[in-house]
C-alpha cells in the first residue's frame, strides 16, 4: 500500500470528527528528516555552501543578533510557563504522539539553548535551569523538529500569552540557515524562483504555452473567448497566483480567467513573477524580502493599477507583509494587498453578480471549507471565502467548530514540509483534517491554498475519505451565467 514507513502514524479513529490526544510515543518521529539541501542551491540563495567550520559559535552569535532584532523571539524565550495548554493542539503531535511535537517542547529545544547562552541562571547552573549546549545532538533535534512544524500558528491561539511557535521555528531555521544547514526542498524552491520566477521552475515559454492551451480548451468547453493574458503591459490587474494553478490546479486558473472575462477586466500574469508563494517565509528574512519584492517589481514593469493575490495561503501571509518588506504600495490602487476573495466579495457587494448566479449548477456538491492556516491565522480571511461559497452553492456544511476558522488544522504540508521524504509526517499531520471532513460527509473540500490543494488529496486518499479537493473561486465561476 503505502510506499513509506508508517510506524510514526497513529491510526486510531477519531470521535465525532475530533482527534483527541494520543498516548505519548517518545522519539516516534525522530527519524523522519527532510533531505539536506545542495551546495548549488545554497550558493544561489546566499547561504554558506556547506556547514561553516565554527558553526556553534556562529549559531549562537546569530541567535544573539535575532534576540536583539526580534521582540517576539525575545519575549517568547522568557515567558512560557509550560502550562501545557498547547500540548494537544498540534496536528503533528495528534498524528504521531511524539512529545517533541508539542509546541512547547519544540520551542523548549530553542529555549534550552537560549538559557544556556543568554541567561545568568542557565550559564551558571545549566542542569538546574534545564539549559543545554548547542552541540551536534541539539542541532540534529533542531533540524528534525523545526522541520516538522508547519508554522501554522494553531498553538498560538490556545496559548495564554499567544506565544507563536511560528516565530520560534522561523528563528531556528534562520539560525540554521546562517550556518549552512537547511533542507533541499525549501532551498531548491527559493532558488527556482530566482531562476524562473516561480516555485515549480516553469520556464516563461512553458507558462505562455500553458495559457494558450487553456484559452483553446476553455473556448472549446464554453464557446467563449476567455483569455489568459501573459505580460500584458497596460493591463489593469496583475494576478499573482501560486504557480501550481497553471499546472496542477488548472481549474483555479480557469476560474480566474472566467471571472475577469465576466467582469470585463483587463488582467495579466507576469513571467517575471508568476508566483505568489514565498518559501523565504520558511527559511530566512533576506529571502522572504527578496522573493516578495519580485511581485511589486513585476507590477511596476507592467504598469498595472492593482495587484491581486490568487488562491495561495502563505502567499497571502507574505502579501500582508509587503508594505513593510518592500516599501509603500501607494502607487497602486487601494486596497493593498488585495486578495482574490476580497475582490470577489467587493464585486458581489457592488452587485456585479446580481441575478447571474445559478446555484443549482453546484447542486451535486456537498461543500465544506478548509481554512488554510495562513489565510485564517495570519491573513484575516475567514468570512470572504465562506461568503463566496454561500453565494455559489446550495449545500455548504461546516466541519466541527474546533477544526475551522482560527482553530483550523494545517493540512500537514505547509511551512516547507510538502516533500515526499517526510510522507509519514505529512499524512499524520493531515489526520485531524481528514477526520473532520469524513465526519461531515462532504464530497467537495474547498480551500484557497495551493499547498493544501496539493497535500489534501494525498491525505484524503491515505485516510480513505472520498472527497474532491478544489478551489473556492471555481465554485463561483461554475455557477456564473456567462
Amino acid at each position: 500500500m503505502a510506499k513509506f514507513d508508517e510506524t510514526p502514524i497513529i491510526k486510531d479513529p477519531a470521535r465525532d470528527g475530533i482527534v483527541t490526544a494520543p498516548e505519548l510515543r517518545e522519539h516516534a518521529t525522530a527519524g523522519v528528516h527532510c533531505w539536506p539541501g545542495k551546495e548549488k542551491d545554497f550558493t544561489a540563495i546566499g547561504l554558506p555552501p556547506e556547514r561553516v567550520p565554527n558553526w556553534q559559535e556562529k549559531a549562537i552569535e546569530k541567535f544573539g543578533e535575532l534576540l536583539e532584532k526580534n521582540k517576539a523571539l525575545r519575549v517568547y524565550m522568557d515567558i512560557c510557563v509550560r502550562c501545557g495548554a498547547c500540548t494537544d493542539k498540534c496536528q503533528f503531535f495528534l498524528g504521531t504522539g511524539d512529545p517533541l511535537n508539542f509546541p512547547v517542547a519544540r520551542a523548549e529545544l530553542m529555549r534550552k539553548v537560549y538559557r544556556r547562552y543568554f541567561t545568568p541562571g542557565g550559564r551558571a547552573f545549566p542542569q538546574l535551569n534545564d539549559a543545554a549546549d548547542f552541540d551536534e545532538e541539539m542541532l540534529q533535534k533542531w533540524y528534525t523538529y523545526f522541520y516538522q512544524c508547519s508554522e501554522c500558528r494553531r498553538c498560538s491561539v490556545f496559548c495564554p500569552y499567544g506565544i507563536d511557535t511560528a516565530e520560534i521555528t522561523m528563528a531556528a531555521r534562520e539560525i540554521m540557515s546562517s550556518i549552512g544547514v537547511a533542507t533541499k526542498y525549501v532551498t531548491e524552491v527559493v532558488a527556482k524562483v530566482y531562476e524562473t520566477g516561480n516555485n515549480l521552475g516553469i520556464p516563461s515559454a512553458a507558462w505562455k504555452d500553458n495559457c494558450e492551451f487553456l484559452e483553446e480548451d476553455v473556448q472549446e468547453e464554453t464557446g467563449l473567448p476567455i483569455r489568459f493574458p501573459v505580460d500584458d503591459e497596460g493591463a489593469d490587474i496583475l494576478l499573482v497566483p501560486p504557480s501550481a494553478d497553471n499546472f496542477a490546479n488548472v481549474d483555479t486558473m480557469i476560474a480566474y480567467g472566467k471571472l475577469f472575462h465576466f467582469l470585463g477586466i483587463r488582467w495579466t500574469t507576469s513571467t517575471y513573477c508568476n508566483e505568489g508563494g514565498n518559501f523565504g517565509l520558511f527559511l530566512n528574512y533576506k529571502n522572504l524580502k527578496q522573493v516578495n519584492k519580485r511581485i511589486v517589481d513585476a507590477a511596476r514593469m507592467l504598469g498595472v493599477k492593482t495587484i491581486i493575490w490568487g488562491e495561495c495561503g502563505h502567499a497571502w501571509r507574505a502579501a500582508v507583509l509587503t508594505p513593510t518588506l518592500n516599501g509603500p504600495m501607494d502607487m497602486f490602487d487601494p486596497p493593498y494587498p488585495y486578495h482574490i476573495s476580497q475582490f470577489v466579495v467587493d464585486m458581489m457587494k457592488k452587485g456585479a453578480f446580481e441575478g447571474k448566479i445559478d446555484k443549482s449548477a453546484n447542486d451535486d456538491l456537498i461543500v465544506t471549507y478548509h481554512d488554510p492556516c495562513n489565510t485564517a491565522r495570519a491573513g484575516q480571511l475567514l468570512e470572504e471565502p465562506r461568503e463566496i461559497i454561500r453565494a455559489a452553492c446550495n449545500h455548504f456544511v461546516e466541519m466541527p467548530a474546533d477544526t475551522i476558522r482560527e482553530k483550523t488544522f494545517c493540512c500537514g504540508g505547509g511551512g516547507g514540509l510538502l516533500t515526499d521524504e517526510i510522507m509519514p509526517i505529512r499524512m499524520a499531520g493531515g489526520k485531524p483534517r481528514a477526520m473532520a471532513v469524513k465526519h461531515v460527509k462532504a464530497n467537495y473540500l474547498a480551500t484557497i491554498c495551493a499547498i493544501c490543494k496539493a497535500q489534501l488529496p494525498e491525505v484524503m486518499g491515505y485516510w480513505d475519505v472520498p472527497v474532491q479537493v478544489g478551489g473556492v473561486l471555481q465554485l463561483l465561476t461554475n455557477a456564473l451565467k456567462m
Binding site: 495548554a85 512529545p99 516565530e167 491565522r377
Partner: protein, 250 residues
C-alpha cells in the same frame, strides 16, 4: 549583652540587608527585563488573526488576556479554572497585604477581612491542583522542569506559612507593621521574633530575587506579545507597519 541577643541582632541585620537586596533585585531586575522587551523592535507585523483592526481593539484583546484568560478557556476548562482562580486569589491576597503597609488601612482592604481566610485557602488549593496537574498528566509531566516545580513549591510555602501566622500561631500584627513600614521608610527596625513569620518573609524575599530571572516574567511579558498586542491593519492606505532596522522607501 547576652549571647542570644547578639545572635538576634545579627539575624535582624541579615534580614534587613536581604530585604533591601531583594527589593533592589526585584525592581531593577524586572524593569530591565521589561525595558528589553519594550526596546527590542518587532520587524514584521505578527498579529494572529482574526485580530482587531484598531489599536484600541488590540488593547482590549490584551486586557482580556490579562484578566479572563480566554485562550485557556478555549484550550482546557480545568486548567482555565485552576489558573484563573490561582491568579485572582493571588491578586486578592496581595491586595489584602496592604494592611501591613498602610496606615490607615484602606476600607476596601478591611472589607475583605471576613473572606480573607477562604481566599487564602483557595489560593493554596489551586497551587496544589496546579502542582498535581503537572505530575498527573503525562503531557504536562513531560514538559515540566525543575523551575516549574520550584516556582509552585515556593508559592505554596509562602501561602502555607502566611495562613499559619495569620490564623493559627499568630504573629503580632503591630510588630509586623512596624517592621515593614520601617523598611519602606528607610528606618529599619528588627523584625518580629517569630520563626514562622520569618520563614514566610524569607520565602517572599527569595521569590522576589528569583522573579526577574524566571518564567514568572510572564506577568509583565504578556503585554509585549506581538501575536496579541498588534492590530491587523496593513491594508490601510498611507499607513504601513515599519520595520525599524529595515525600512525600504521605494
Amino acid at each position: 549583652m547576652q549571647e542570644t541577643d547578639l545572635l538576634w541582632t545579627l539575624v535582624s541585620l541579615v534580614i534587613i540587608g536581604l530585604s533591601y537586596f531583594a527589593i533592589i533585585v526585584f525592581v531593577f531586575g524586572l524593569l530591565s527585563r521589561l525595558w528589553e522587551y519594550l526596546r527590542t523592535p518587532q520587524p514584521l507585523p505578527g498579529a494572529v488573526t482574526p485580530a482587531p483592526t484598531s489599536n484600541a481593539g488590540a488593547a482590549v484583546r490584551v486586557a482580556k488576556d490579562v484578566l479572563i484568560f480566554p485562550s485557556l478557556w478555549k484550550a482546557d476548562k480545568f486548567l482555565w479554572a485552576g489558573s484563573w482562580l490561582f491568579h485572582v486569589t493571588l491578586a486578592l491576597v496581595l491586595f489584602r497585604h496592604l494592611r501591613y503597609f498602610t496606615y490607615p488601612v484602606p476600607s476596601l482592604v478591611l472589607k475583605l477581612q471576613p473572606v480573607a481566610l477562604t481566599i487564602g485557602y483557595i489560593f493554596g488549593i489551586t497551587i496544589l491542583y496546579l502542582f498535581w496537574r503537572r505530575l498527573a498528566l503525562p503531557r504536562t509531566l513531560y514538559v515540566s522542569n525543575l523551575p516549574d516545580y520550584f516556582a509552585l513549591a515556593l508559592l505554596g510555602g509562602i501561602a502555607a506559612t502566611g495562613i499559619i501566622v495569620s490564623y493559627w500561631t499568630h504573629v503580632n500584627l503591630v510588630d509586623v507593621k512596624a517592621f515593614v513600614i520601617g523598611l519602606l521608610t528607610l528606618h529599619p527596625t528588627p523584625p518580629p521574633n517569630h520563626p514562622l513569620f520569618l520563614l514566610h518573609f524569607m520565602l517572599v524575599l527569595l521569590l522576589m530575587i528569583y522573579f526577574p530571572f524566571s518564567k514568572l516574567l510572564h506577568a509583565g511579558g504578556i503585554f509585549f506579545s506581538p501575536a496579541r498586542n498588534q492590530p491587523f491593519q496593513v491594508q490601510e492606505a498611507g499607513k504601513r507597519y515599519v520595520n525599524p532596522w529595515d525600512t525600504p522607501e521605494s
